[in-house]
């Protein structure tokens, strides 16, 4: 199951993600794939809003820290960024598996770098910068729960 979206500003990207965030439950996993500046962190900011985190919650790029935890919403958000990891073997030290089976929503930026470590039931979300402001966002449901989420959008 695949859906395509086009957004024409960062605000529209956040709004799309916010709608998605509103239907997420603990245990859902979202894998964000796209180049530098394609909109992955912007999308995660919208998800945070949809998950009920306050608008002033700083959802930044966790590239340096690899993981940012955002409790305080309807469902906790665990925001991974594996940009700096060469492969999935390094995930062990981040307790990645525990987060996947935890009580929050897991978002992974640059997830295509760790494909062998991703759960089978997940949403893959690919970002392409069509122009300076326009993004093509393709959401692919892999697994039953993922299809259920996508059908609610």
């Amino acid at each position: 199951m695949i859906r395509n979206y086009q957004t024409n500003s960062a605000e529209e990207t956040r709004s799309l993600a916010s709608n998605l965030g509103a239907v997420l439950r603990p245990g859902d996993t979202l894998c964000l794939i796209g180049d530098l500046g394609a909109g992955k962190t912007t999308f995660t900011q919208g998800l945070a809003l949809g998950l009920g985190l306050p608008p002033d919650e700083p959802v930044n790029s966790p590239t340096f820290m690899l993981l940012a935890e955002h409790p305080g919403g309807r469902v906790p958000l665990f925001h991974f960024d594996v940009y700096r990891l060469p492969d999935s073997s390094a995930l062990y030290d981040l307790a990645f598996d525990e987060y996947l089976s935890g009580d929050g929503v897991v978002v992974i930026e640059w997830a295509d770098r760790i494909t062998d470590a991703l759960p089978p039931d997940r949403l893959d979300i690919a970002f392409i910068a069509v122009s300076y402001d326009t993004r093509q966002i393709t959401v692919m449901a892999r697994g039953e729960r993922a299809k259920e989420i996508l059908s609610q959008l």
Partner: protein
């Protein structure tokens, strides 16, 4: 009294001895930067293992250079948050062990607080209030510091940190890791023209003291592919990107200082080591009649001296921690 500081939150294993809060007796830093250059960044599991391998030797060297033995340590300060959990755990375990065995106070320090306190190693008589810019690979924040341990956040990045903006833009320009240092060097040694490529500075509204660097990243990714700029030399590229980041940091920090009516600005974090930031900030502060303190490079990048210094002020305020001390991956300072 000698405080032993320990820092292992990311990719530096460091130990330092600070005497009476002022006299830095040693500051030993074992960097993993060569190791991580191969992968283009920190690998947490590798980082933890390196910390384990190096921590005892680094502590022993810090004591030896300081000319003291274990028995002379009066307190142990350690960074326990925020950072890579596996990495933090190495320093915290070492600190707990020493504090317990020597029966001395254990002082848990927030890594960002410690970066701010690097300034007190340069000038122990700083008068409050001050405005401090903390800019590093993981952080870009402006704090109003009203007293010891009293922080108010004035501005923060809404997306990428300044150091991350340096590193990611450097990657787009095809520069080697660590990109920020390389960009600084290239712009300086190549006398790069900072106006060669026009790049955006995010304002985020007239009153905002926040930063945003993701627009810059997008602009760089488009500009490098644009035939219009194909002939621009690398040094000019480096200078142009650097200027955009430095401008944003300087403008917002000065605005914060003016809004709060302080007359003293502090810099902290690894990005404070950027030579262009220091120059531009120095000129701007001189224009506005503000005092500026910039710690030397070895105290800007991750180090244990700053941990010991923050620990010293914790001890003055009786902020002592128990042996059940935990590590935390993320926690806001204010």
């Amino acid at each position: 009294m000698d405080i032993l500081g320990i820092e292992t939150s990311c990719d530096e294993t460091s130990a330092a001895v600070l005497r009476n809060g002022r006299d830095l007796r040693s500051n030993i830093i074992a960097s993993q930067i060569d190791l991580h250059a191969k992968t283009g960044g920190v690998v947490p599991e590798v980082a933890s293992r390196q910390h384990v391998t190096q921590i005892n030797a680094v502590i022993a060297e810090a004591l030896e250079v300081a000319g003291i033995g274990l028995g002379n340590i009066g307190a142990v300060a350690v960074a326990n948050r925020p950072g890579l959990l596996g990495a933090l755990l190495v320093g915290v375990s070492a600190a707990k062990t020493l504090a317990y065995a020597l029966n001395v106070p254990l002082l848990a320090v927030h890594h960002i607080e410690a970066h701010i306190y690097a300034n007190w190693l340069v000038d122990p008589d700083i008068e409050f209030p001050v405005v401090c810019l903390v800019a590093s690979g993981g952080h870009s924040e402006i704090f109003l510091v009203r007293g010891h341990g009293d922080y108010l956040i004035l501005g923060r990045t809404r997306d990428d940190a300044a150091g991350e903006a340096f590193d990611k833009s450097a990657r787009l320009l095809g520069l080697p890791y660590p990109g920020g240092i390389e960009m600084d060097r290239l712009a300086r040694e190549g006398a790069g023209n900072p106006k060669a490529v026009p790049l955006p500075r995010a304002q985020l509204g007239p009153d905002s003291l926040d930063f945003s660097f993701s627009g810059l990243k997008t602009a760089v990714s488009y500009a490098v592919r644009d035939p219009k700029w194909a002939a621009v030399p690398k040094a000019d590229w480096a200078a142009s990107v650097q200027e955009a980041i430095v401008d944003a940091l300087t403008v917002k920090t000065l605005k914060a200082a003016k809004a709060c009516g302080v007359n003293h600005v502090l810099l902290a974090g690894g990005v404070a080591a950027n030579s262009r930031l220091q120059t531009v900030m120095r000129e701007a502060c001189a224009r506005e009649g503000l005092r500026l303190t910039v710690p030397p490079i070895r105290l800007c990048t991750d180090n244990a001296a700053m941990i010991a210094c923050a620990g010293y002020y914790h001890l003055q305020a009786d902020l002592v921690d128990g042996l059940d001390l935990d590590t935390r991956a993320s926690e806001r300072l204010a």
